[in-house]
């Protein structure tokens, strides 16, 4: 299967369900369609004094034309942590039009 077919076949949940799993109150969520939402920065203000979770940085050797799979491992690690029952979240960069389409 091509990557995009895998993506289309995956059963995505409504983003509200994902937000709920994170304990985010509805008032802090602005939905952009079914699968995307913006989180209000007021939520951070509210949670400012809560304990921070563990921070894990994923980096790599110097890149080669073969590709190292940094993002594959980041996503795998977050999913792997979910698999062993840990509450995990990814914080990644957003791709721009130029990288996804025109190169």
């Amino acid at each position: 299967m091509e990557d995009i077919e895998i993506a289309r076949n995956a059963k995505l949940k409504n983003i509200n369900e994902i937000a709920e799993k994170l304990g985010i109150d509805e008032e802090y969520i602005e939905q952009y369609g079914k699968y995307k939402a913006k989180i209000s920065n007021k939520l951070y203000e509210k949670k400012k004094n809560d304990k921070d979770g563990k921070l894990i940085l994923v980096t790599s050797i110097n890149p080669t034309p073969l590709g190292e799979g940094k993002t594959t491992i980041s996503i795998g690690l977050a999913d792997g942590l979910s698999q062993i029952g840990k509450k995990s979240i990814l914080a990644l960069r957003e791709p721009s039009l130029r990288t996804s389409i025109w190169n």
Partner: protein, 436 residues
């Protein structure tokens, strides 16, 4: 996936608009009589497309009374200082303050003119108001993901937004984040720039490598890369070991190696790598997430959980009170392994001026080739002693760092002879093909 790869929630368009609003304000100011006596504009326009024809353009050619033709240029949006500012800003107020601090050019006396002199920062912040809220999505296995901001990793710091990372740490017990390119550029900037704006430093670092890429670093020709070779692996492993050594000994962090496993990797190669890393006291995990998803990374997940419990003793590579040159030299010698730094006369002059004007206490953001630890993209082995060559220095007062250029960095890439766009299409049902 298409939803993330295309317009997403419009953040990048908002950044493009804010950038170009500033350009429009500048040229309007000049058109309306140029009260501030703007003599040299350094602020460029931007667009989120690879369009090399826009690297240098002539503008204001209409011939209208008051139109002052001048040379301008376009950067891609991710190279805009606004993207870097967006990713370092703590909140809306900090964003506005940083936008106001952008140096857009100089007057006839050579004095800086900032965006706030044009009263531009308020309107620019309005355009970015919604974009500044982090975006929540999910992985194919329904793990939450915040995707927010994405600056260049050479002329900028190459990390997602501070706001998103801070939010992530409040929402879950484990927040996984990334830095662009290799650890010499991405991790160095994550640690020396971004972490100065975060409430904490990483509890664990995963260094990603593949057996194939390590053999490539050892000089193995790409057409033979799938063949077993302990020889090339042995030559190429130095790259991985240098990054591990930096993260452990310069920064004092807990490190694990994640090997993105391919079917062509042999047991002998894996055993060799494991032994070498164990000698250095570094754990390794074989990850098959590409084929098996989260199940393929359970071993890594368990090891990361353990690693996070170990105490770390974080130290920055340089102190903000070091001089600009001391900072550059510490990164070059300690992180890259260079024997020293050479400066052009031009960069010496700029550094001296910046120190005199009181900008010496900013972090530095080195733009260097991502392919090698040195500034020579072809020198993968780095066996011979090398120096880092500083060609130019640019102050980014909004982002709050000093960019140090070690070569020509294109801030507007071009398309290849056969662009991917030729394969992208949409069928009668609205299904997109050709985007990966």
């Amino acid at each position: 996936m298409e939803e993330i790869n295309l317009h997403f929630t419009g953040d990048i368009h908002a950044i493009t608009s804010a950038n170009n609003l500033l350009s429009a304000i500048i040229d309007n100011h000049i058109f309306q009589g140029n009260e501030l006596e703007i003599d040299k504009v350094i602020w460029k326009r931007c667009v989120d497309l690879n369009d090399r024809a826009l690297r240098k353009v002539q503008i204001a050619l209409s011939g209208e009374k008051g139109a002052v033709p001048r040379e301008d240029g376009f950067d891609i949006t991710v190279a805009s200082e606004i993207m870097a500012i967006f990713c370092l800003a703590e909140n809306l107020e900090d964003l506005k303050k940083r936008l106001g601090n952008i140096v857009i050019g100089y007057n006839k006396k050579g004095e800086e003119i900032r965006a706030k002199d044009l009263k531009a920062e308020g309107a620019m912040t309005v355009l970015l108001k919604d974009a500044l809220k982090p975006n929540l999505v999910q992985t194919l296995e329904n793990t939450p993901a915040i995707i927010h901001g994405g600056p260049f990793a050479n002329i900028a710091h190459g990390c997602n937004s501070v706001i998103a990372t801070k939010m992530g740490m409040k929402l879950a017990d484990y927040c996984i984040t990334e830095a662009g390119f290799g650890a010499d550029l991405g991790a160095e900037k994550f640690l020396d720039i971004k972490c100065r704006n975060l409430p904490k430093t990483p509890d664990a670092v995963v260094v990603v490598a593949t057996i194939k890429a390590l053999k490539y670093h050892g000089g193995m020709p790409i057409e033979n890369i799938k063949e077993e070779s302990l020889d090339y692996l042995e030559k190429g492993i130095h790259n991985l070991l240098k990054h591990i050594d930096n993260l452990k000994n310069i920064y004092g962090l807990n490190v694990i190696v994640g090997i993105n496993k391919y079917i062509t990797d042999t047991d002998k190669e894996i055993d060799y790598l494991r032994t070498k890393l164990e000698e250095k006291g570094v754990n390794i995990s074989l990850v098959e997430a590409w084929a098996k998803g989260g199940k393929g990374a359970v071993d890594l997940a368990k090891k990361v959980v353990d690693l996070c419990e170990k105490p770390s003793n974080f130290k920055y590579c340089y102190d903000l009170n070091d001089s600009i040159k001391e900072k550059i030299e510490k990164i070059a010698t300690r992180v890259y392994g260079a024997e020293g730094v050479e400066y052009t006369d031009e960069s010496n002059k700029i550094i001296e001026k910046l120190e005199k004007e009181g900008y010496g206490n900013m972090p530095v953001c080195i733009a260097k080739t991502q392919y090698s630890l040195s500034d020579d993209a072809k020198d993968l082995l780095c066996i011979n002693p090398f120096k880092i060559h500083v060609k130019n220095v640019i102050l980014k007062t909004g982002a709050g760092f000093i960019v140090v250029l070690t070569g020509n960095i294109f801030t507007m890439p071009g398309l290849p002879k056969t662009p991917a766009s030729e394969k992208i299409d949409i069928d009668e049902n609205g299904e997109i093909v050709g985007i990966f």
